[in-house]
């Protein structure tokens, strides 16, 4: 339990209204968006508004030997914000200013509590956008998505969060403020600490300002939906499109379980017996988009698609997106608990991975719907279950183990975009062995020797 002293000092530093201490207010922070995780209630929650206040909180926490758990909107999918060892949840939502949008350098400075969509809205006034596009774009914070290095639907063409973070201000475990990076396109001065903190899951320091790159909003886009009666043909199509020198902004796949479930809950016009559908969207200059779309359509046909539908209007585009947008919502309605993984393989292995997941579903007798970002190899096997069913949850855990093993065996990774957090920390040796885990620990302990920041996540104490 925490001393009354710490509460008093924090209240003095931040103002009483920025320190929550009543159990009914704290229970809400015992969980995040991750299913089937242990819950833990923090001792206190603080909402600092300035870098100095963050530094002050860190100094007090250190003095009292209490851990700090940074948190934005709490929408991550790997238990990254659960305050496993109690202590202080440091919520960044009151640091929510867009400091600057710079259309000449195509950059923006933001505070960590800015919602991604708010940055997009501000950038849109200059005809710009922030390309990383996680499913939680309207709720997640910039601090959270940079900490987790979020991916999203546009990864194939635009990359992921780490390709857009070029500078930051971070408060370190000793309370010092580190400023790194800048607006230059090129910068090789020193190690790339910006890259280290991006995806650091809040275990190395607390970000207080972020400098990100912006892109021009593409002039045009075009959307196609290709239907397949055979998984191999779908996989071959994905490879053929990439080989064909087309880089769509989005190339999504949905398997038969997902298709059937979506059909049950929406009026999407999909053939129920299709083995897979692929949704392709190309964007760019109007003329380029026309050519790319025509070429993609032709390749789908040649690779054995049963049908290819091209959207001609915005309404038709919305119709095509309906199924993909409803993939997770529809799957989530089947059972109370939705275990959503993000095992990722080289895109040439998509078909093999889909088959492996299907075999695992069969072996453990579990409904698993798989959809995801086929163009970048990032799949979302989604296990539909009920946390109240102990026996079934046993099978779920075993199935998850095998999904991870299958991804690694195919040359892939445990997590494409959700992160390690609490959920995958124990699987790390599977991917890079004891040496890799040891190197992670060196890095962690160099920045945070006392495990002050987000302990219990990514790197466990040796």
């Amino acid at each position: 339990m925490l001393s009354k002293e710490l509460y008093k000092e924090l209240a003095e530093l931040l103002g009483k209204e920025n320190v929550l201490s009543e159990p009914e207010d704290l229970l809400n922070y015992a969980f995040d968006a991750t299913a089937a995780m242990p819950k833990q209630t923090p001792d206190l929650l603080v909402t600092p508004r300035t870098t100095e206040q963050v530094a002050g909180v860190i100094k007090l926490a250190r003095q009292h030997g209490v851990p700090i758990y940074p948190r934005g909107s709490g929408t991550n999918l790997c238990g990254a914000t659960i305050p496993l060892e109690r202590g202080i949840v440091l919520m960044t939502l009151e640091m929510n200013k867009i400091i600057e949008v710079d259309p000449e350098n195509l950059t923006a400075w933001v505070e960590p509590g800015v919602i991604i969509q708010s940055l997009n809205d501000a950038a849109a006034e200059y005809g710009l956008m922030y390309p990383p596009d996680p499913g939680t774009v309207t709720t997640a914070t910039m601090g959270g998505s940079v900490s987790m290095c979020s991916g999203g639907l546009r990864g194939l063409k635009y990359g992921v969060t780490k390709h857009y973070v070029i500078g930051m201000e971070v408060v370190l475990a000793n309370g010092e403020v580190l400023k790194w990076g800048g607006k230059t396109v090129k910068n090789v001065t020193g190690y790339d600490l910006t890259a280290l903190f991006t995806g650091g899951e809040g275990t190395l320091g607390i970000m207080t300002k972020l400098l990100v790159k912006l892109n021009p909003i593409p002039e045009a886009r075009k959307t196609l939906l290709a239907v397949f009666d055979d998984l191999d043909k779908a996989g071959n199509t994905i490879s053929a499109i990439i080989r064909g020198k087309i880089i769509p902004a989005t190339m999504e796949i949905m398997d038969n379980t997902t298709i059937r479930t979506v059909k049950k809950f929406t009026n999407a016009d999909l053939p129920e017996d299709a083995e897979a559908v692929i949704l392709i969207e190309v964007d760019g200059y109007r003329e380029a988009v026309e050519r790319e779309a025509a070429l993609a359509e032709e390749i789908c046909g040649r690779s054995g698609a049963v049908a290819v539908i091209a959207a001609k209007t915005d309404e038709e585009r919305d119709r095509l997106w309906l199924a993909r947008r409803n993939a997770l919502p529809a799957l989530a309605q089947v059972k109370p608990t939705t275990v959503l993984e993000d095992a990722t393989v080289p895109r040439s292995q998509i078909t093999a991975m889909l088959r492996a997941i299907r075999a695992i579903a069969h072996k453990y007798d579990l409904p698993i719907g798989t959809f995801g970002h086929a163009g970048d190899g990032n799949l979302h096997p989604t296990i539909l279950t009920d946390v109240r069913d102990k026996e079934e949850m046993e099978r779920v855990h075993k199935a998850v183990d095998e999904i991870f093993a299958a991804a690694v065996k195919l040359g892939g990774t445990l997590s494409g975009e959700h992160g390690v957090g609490l959920g995958k920390a124990r699987y790390l040796p599977l991917e890079f062995g004891p040496v890799g885990v040891e190197v992670l620990r060196w890095v962690k302990e160099a920045f945070d020797p006392h495990y002050l920041f987000n302990p219990g996540k990514v790197v466990l104490r040796g």
């Binding site: 009543e22 159990p23 229970l27 809400n28 969980f31 995040d32 991750t34 989530a332």
Partner: protein
């Protein structure tokens, strides 16, 4: 198993939530506070711990359930189809069963049950209001509390209480050869504050050849009690109203308040689920209950030929319990567009809650003001001269906000504009070709 009788009735609904947090995007209170306790996910998290035994339903937890305007924006957004309003109402009822009602609410709901007593109080209030309220300068109606009685705050602007309740000595409006016989459920807001809406409803129905009676024994719809977990008061009021309308012999029940409409259409059946006598009556009247705009557009196809010109730019605020509660949003817009000269200008977020939410704005006045400020900013961005809405409670909130923000617009019910249009046509003797 009714949500009002047994908290276990919403257990499965609680487990449906996957904690994705998508509700944060649309929750007006979360936008104002950025605290989990105000958003559906946070409250569901608390209640899940109550279900599993990880946490007690403490007085503090019951109090946290007051952080909701029941605007149902989260229901619409939820990818898992969670109906959060059901969970919340069940939790509030459970809170009251365990910890009782706040004494002020208890007195208020008891007064509502004793209609004559309440009526007397409101009439007395009407005579004394000069002593309690100070008039708002420059407006011919409306007043703020002179002193903060610890309940309403001094900021909110209230319309003047009607000198005589709207329903008092109100005879049935007869028309020669009526096409239909309707009974009007006024609700308290119209009865005591907004007689003008009541007059407009009667005027519009008369012009459309509908006979309207106003059953004398009707009282409060019971929503203030049911949303605060006072299930017994809500049931007593539901039975009283059902009895009154059963005696009216009307073909249709007309409401012009979104909460009252939701009560008749949805709440009464849920409240009286275990009542063998009244449940069938609740079902019968639920099927006959119509919001005034719904009735005009869908049932009687109102007269569009005798409408006079009103040159005005109008914007429309969707009451939550009309749009999401009753799926009525096309009808009021259709009415506004049918009035010659009216130009309908949409808000950016017409269906975002105004923050009134009945007793919510009394319990959390600062929060209600923050939600209202968003709505006012939205209104200020339009060139509209009038803010129309479909509910007297929203009208009060909007109107109070317009005055406090210093905006020149007026706030009215859609049916008032329609009635004005009919009156103008009648005055000029000219009708639309």
């Amino acid at each position: 198993m009714s949500i009002y009788s047994d908290f276990r009735s919403v257990q499965d609904e609680i487990y449906k939530c996957m904690k994705c947090g998508n509700c944060q995007e649309v929750c007006p209170l979360y936008k104002a506070t950025r605290k989990e306790v105000t958003v559906a996910r946070g409250k569901i998290g608390l209640l899940e711990m109550f279900v599993t035994g990880e946490a007690e339903m403490t007085a503090g937890m019951a109090e946290r359930m007051s952080y909701c305007t029941t605007c149902m924006a989260c229901n619409e957004k939820c990818p898992c189809g969670v109906q959060f309003d059901r969970i919340l109402l069940a939790a509030r009822a459970e809170g009251v069963r365990r910890h009782g009602l706040h004494p002020v609410k208890k007195t208020a709901f008891t007064a509502l049950r004793l209609q004559r007593f309440f009526d007397f109080g409101m009439r007395t209030g009407s005579r004394l209001q000069g002593a309690i309220f100070s008039r708002v300068a420059g407006r011919d109606y409306g007043a703020r509390m002179r002193v903060d009685m610890g309940l309403l705050g001094r900021k909110k602007v209230f319309p003047r209480l009607a000198a005589k309740p709207f329903r008092a000595d109100r005879p049935t409006v007869y028309v020669p050869r009526p096409r239909m016989k309707a009974a009007f459920f006024t609700g308290c807001m119209i009865n005591y504050f907004y007689s003008d809406i009541g007059e407009a409803v009667l005027g519009v129905l008369k012009r459309n050849n509908v006979e309207v009676s106003i059953p004398e024994e009707q009282g409060c719809c019971g929503v203030p009690a049911s949303v605060n977990g006072d299930v017994e008061s809500a049931r007593a009021l539901a039975r009283r109203n059902l009895k009154a309308f059963e005696a009216s012999g009307a073909d249709a029940l007309i409401v012009s308040c979104s909460s009252c409409g939701s009560a008749w259409k949805h709440s009464y059946e849920r409240l009286l689920e275990e009542d063998a006598v009244y449940r069938p009556l609740a079902a019968k009247w639920a099927a006959r209950a119509y919001d005034i705009s719904e009735f005009l557009v869908r049932v009687i196809d109102y007269d569009r030929e005798s409408l006079g010109r009103i040159e005005r730019k109008v914007t429309y605020h969707d009451p939550c319990h009309l749009r999401r509660g009753q799926n009525i949003f096309l009808e009021p817009r259709a009415i506004l567009r049918s009035i010659p000269g009216v130009e309908l200008i949409e808000l950016q977020k017409p269906d975002r809650c105004c923050g009134m939410a009945g007793s919510f704005c009394i319990v959390h006045p600062d929060l209600a003001d923050k939600v209202l400020a968003e709505k006012m900013a939205d209104v200020a961005r339009t060139p509209a001269q009038t803010v129309a809405t479909g509910c007297p409670a929203c009208r009060l909130q909007l109107w109070s906000g317009l005055i406090n923000t210093g905006l020149p617009q007026d706030a009215v019910h859609v049916v008032q504009l329609l009635n004005e249009s009919y009156e103008r046509a009648a005055e000029s003797g000219a009708t639309r070709a």
